[in-house]
Every structure is written in structure tokens, then in C-alpha cells.
Symmetry: none
């Protein structure tokens, strides 16, 4: 069971203060999490990180440092992004408890998930948030809403551990989850979903539905729709096949039939 917690990736984007990286590592280790990914950290490795980690140096040593959020999310089937603010486009929004329940459900199915935390002062950009299927908001006092980064990691890691402990004590719920897992086939990963969106955008441009000069909210609305649908690999193959034929049709390159062998 413990192995399942290792399928949960904590991703810190563009962190300014190495002390917060150390604090996050300590919070993770306290709650049984181990997989830390740092996207373009400002100052790492660092003595401050080691000091605040207070013994969780194994997590710092094993931390993966990457250049972009995309790299950090490769192989993840579900991505949760922490968000402090209300956004104009409504997005599936969870509180930490709901997030933890969804995380546990996924890892019990053998999938990998990511919890993404933004910069200390600016959080995640809209573009980064659109790479997340779900947004998580920690319900702070609206008059003083900016949590310390390590504190935010602590709250989510704590909720994940609580959900995981509950799942361990309720075999019936696990059995139910496993049955669901068998029913639905393997989910696509975040990188596969990104390739799909790129393909979709290209096709929409080719059929003159999307004007790249005036994209409006079209792609983010489509991301929201497909992002919440838990698309399986088989379904993704179908959608990609449709896009391929759509592009051919738009270019007048119809190839005749024979594509329905799914």
C-alpha cells in the first residue's frame, strides 16, 4: 500500500526560496510522500533547503530538476494545480479533501498523479493552470489568503495521508475502486493529453473554426471539457484518428474508407 503513495508527485514550479523547498520535503516525508519534482527552481541545491528539510534530505537528494512543467508531468494521468484565486473561466475546483479523495482513487488504480504548486508570490500562470485537469483551492480567510508554500504542501500532503489511511481501513471501498478500474481502461497521461490538444488546435485552425489571431477562450473551454472526462487510451486513439481525418478532409486529401477498425 505504501508503494502507492510513491505514485504521487509533488511539483514545485519556479520556487524562489530554497527554504520552502526544504520545508516542502519535510512536510512530504512526514506524510509518507517521496517524489519531488522541481521546475526551474531559482536556487537549488542549497544549504537553506537542507536546513529546513530537517532530516528529509533523502527527498531533496532524489528530487528531479526539470526545465518545464510539461517535463514534470510526463507519465501522470491526473494533474491537480493549486490555485489561490478565482479565475474567469470556471474550472473543476476541489477543496483539499476532495482532491485527496481523487488522488487516492487514482493511485489505487495504479496511475501516477501530480500535485502542482506555483511561485511564492504569483502562483501558477493561467497557461500552467490549464495543464491541470483540476484546480485545488485551500479555503483560506479571503482577507489573508496567501499561504506559505511549504504550508500549502503540508495541507495537501496531510489530506492525502488521511484519505490513504481511510482507504486502507475500508477494503470495501478499495474493492469498489478496483472494480471501476477494471471496467474503465487505462487513462491517458498528461503528455498524451497535451499532444491531443495540440492536434485539436491544429485541426480547428485547418477547418477555419479557430482563428489563431483571435483564439478567445476556445481552447481553454475544450481543455476543460476533455480534461474532466478521464479519457482512456482507446478513446484517445479514436479522437486522434478523427483529427487526422479531419485535417486530411480540410486539405482535400480524402483517402477513402477503412479507418473504423476500433
Amino acid at each position: 500500500m505504501l508503494a502507492l503513495l510513491q505514485n504521487i508527485r509533488v511539483v514545485l514550479v519556479n520556487t524562489s526560496h530554497p527554504g520552502n523547498i526544504g520545508g516542502a520535503a519535510r512536510a512530504m516525508k512526514n506524510m509518507g510522500l517521496s517524489q519531488l519534482v522541481l521546475v526551474d527552481p531559482m536556487d537549488f541545491p542549497s544549504g537553506d533547503a537542507v536546513a529546513r528539510a530537517s532530516g528529509a534530505t533523502d527527498i531533496l537528494d532524489a528530487a528531479q530538476v526539470v526545465g518545464t512543467l510539461e517535463e514534470a508531468l510526463v507519465g501522470c494521468s491526473l494533474v491537480f494545480g493549486t490555485s489561490a484565486r478565482e479565475r474567469r473561466i470556471p474550472w473543476p475546483l476541489l477543496d483539499p479533501r476532495e482532491c485527496a479523495a481523487a488522488v487516492c482513487e487514482q493511485v489505487l488504480q495504479g496511475s501516477e498523479v501530480a500535485l502542482v504548486f506555483g511561485r511564492e508570490y504569483a502562483g501558477l500562470t493561467n497557461e500552467e493552470l490549464q495543464r491541470c485537469q483540476f484546480h485545488v483551492h485551500i479555503p483560506t480567510d479571503p482577507d489573508f489568503s496567501s499561504l506559505n508554500l511549504a504550508a500549502a504542501v503540508q495541507v495537501l500532503a496531510y489530506e492525502v495521508r488521511m484519505a490513504w489511511l481511510v482507504a486502507q481501513n475500508k477494503p470495501t471501498k478499495i474493492a469498489k475502486l478496483e472494480a471501476t478500474a477494471i471496467q474503465s481502461s487505462q487513462p491517458v497521461t498528461a503528455d498524451e493529453l497535451e499532444s491531443f490538444y495540440a492536434h485539436l488546435e491544429q485541426a480547428l485552425i485547418e477547418i477555419d473554426f479557430l482563428d489563431p489571431a483571435k483564439p478567445r477562450h476556445l481552447m481553454s473551454r475544450l481543455r476543460r471539457l476533455y480534461g474532466r472526462s478521464a479519457i482512456s487510451k482507446l478513446e484517445m486513439n479514436i479522437l486522434r484518428g478523427i483529427l487526422t481525418e479531419t485535417v486530411k478532409a480540410a486539405r482535400g486529401e480524402h483517402q477513402g474508407r477503412g479507418k473504423t477498425d476500433v
Copy 2:
């Protein structure tokens, strides 16, 4: 209702590092708590506390400094002591969620309660723990169980806020936002969904992806995907628009741009 959170006292006993006092103040203010009591702190006031408080200086300024735990608890009807270890003497032991429920129940009755946190390295003494009616244990990994002091305050303050939001009967701000989002994005009806499937099938035939003579399971798979996505009316308009343009493209009837006004 907010006034009730002011009846919750956070008591830090004999804290070594002033930075932790600042971190605790920030965590409290994030969650709407305000009453901080310091029992014999090693170093306070301190610039380190102000730095880590990150704007929660009003809580530091108003903090009461006392010499003994007894003084800190005057007027409290219920006292919860955090404990990292199992004790030889069995004591009523709560997890943070149970503690938060009990705290809220008390303050809703107009009582004052205290959450007591011990020293960074040694926690609370047995004598101090015996002054608490309940012990609270944060369920850490047994192999790495020592939480940072401010992180422990963060977890309990967060649980208190969650319980308080539930007690208010309008759970999280998120739930409210979600309700708004759902209201403003009315779901499609079954008949609208059927029209969409008919349109989708027609488009797939036009782009030569679907062979009507050999349809296989294609449409049922797509029905399963879109059927579980709870498509809104706005999203349906987008999907129908895409299909219309796809059919035009397949027929060589590109109309130029101007369809992205969504």
C-alpha cells in the same frame, strides 16, 4: 460567526525558534484564527518571527506572553494538547479532524478552547499533557514523525477552518463557486445530446472516418465518452460549431474565419 474563531486560542509552549512563532501566526491568520498565547518563549519578540509571519504581524503584536501553561489556559473550557507519541497512560486521543469538530462544537456554544503545541524537539511534558482534556495526534509516517511546529499549527488551523465552514452550513467557498459554475453552465438535455450524436456520426462519415456499412463500435464508444462528460449548453454549442465546420471542410466549402466567438 467569525467572532467564534476568536474564541480559539493557539498556545505555544517554550518555543525555541522565533521563526516558528511567525510561521504559526501566518498559518493562524490564513485560517481566520487570531488569538496567540506564548508560554515562556526562548526569543520573542524577534525579527525572525516578523519575517516568517509575512504580514500576520497583528497576531504577533497582540500575542499574550505568559510564564506558565496554567496562565495560558485561564478561561478555557476545553484544552487540546498535541502529542507526537503514544503515552503510557491512555488518554482520549483524537485525530485533527475529530479535534476540529470538538473545537467547533465548543465555540458554537460560546466557550473558549485552547490548542496547545509543545517544544520543537521535546513536545509537551507528561505534566503538561495531563492539563489537556484531549490529546491530538497528527497521523504522520511513523518513520519520520516530527512535524515542524508551524506546520502542525497549519494542519490543526486548517481542520478547524474546514469544520467551521461545514458548521456554517455553506461549506467551502469552492462549493459555492462550483454551484455558481454549474448554474451558469446549464447541462444539455438528452435530446440535445442525441442531435449531437447524429451530427457527429454524419461528420465522421463525411471525413471518411466512419464507414456506415461497417460501423463497428465507434459510435457507442464516443457515446460513452461524451455521455459521462456532463456537457454544458455552451460546450455543446462549441462542439456543434466544430462539426458544422468539419462537414464544410470535407465538402470543400471553407467559409473563412469568424466562428470563434464563443
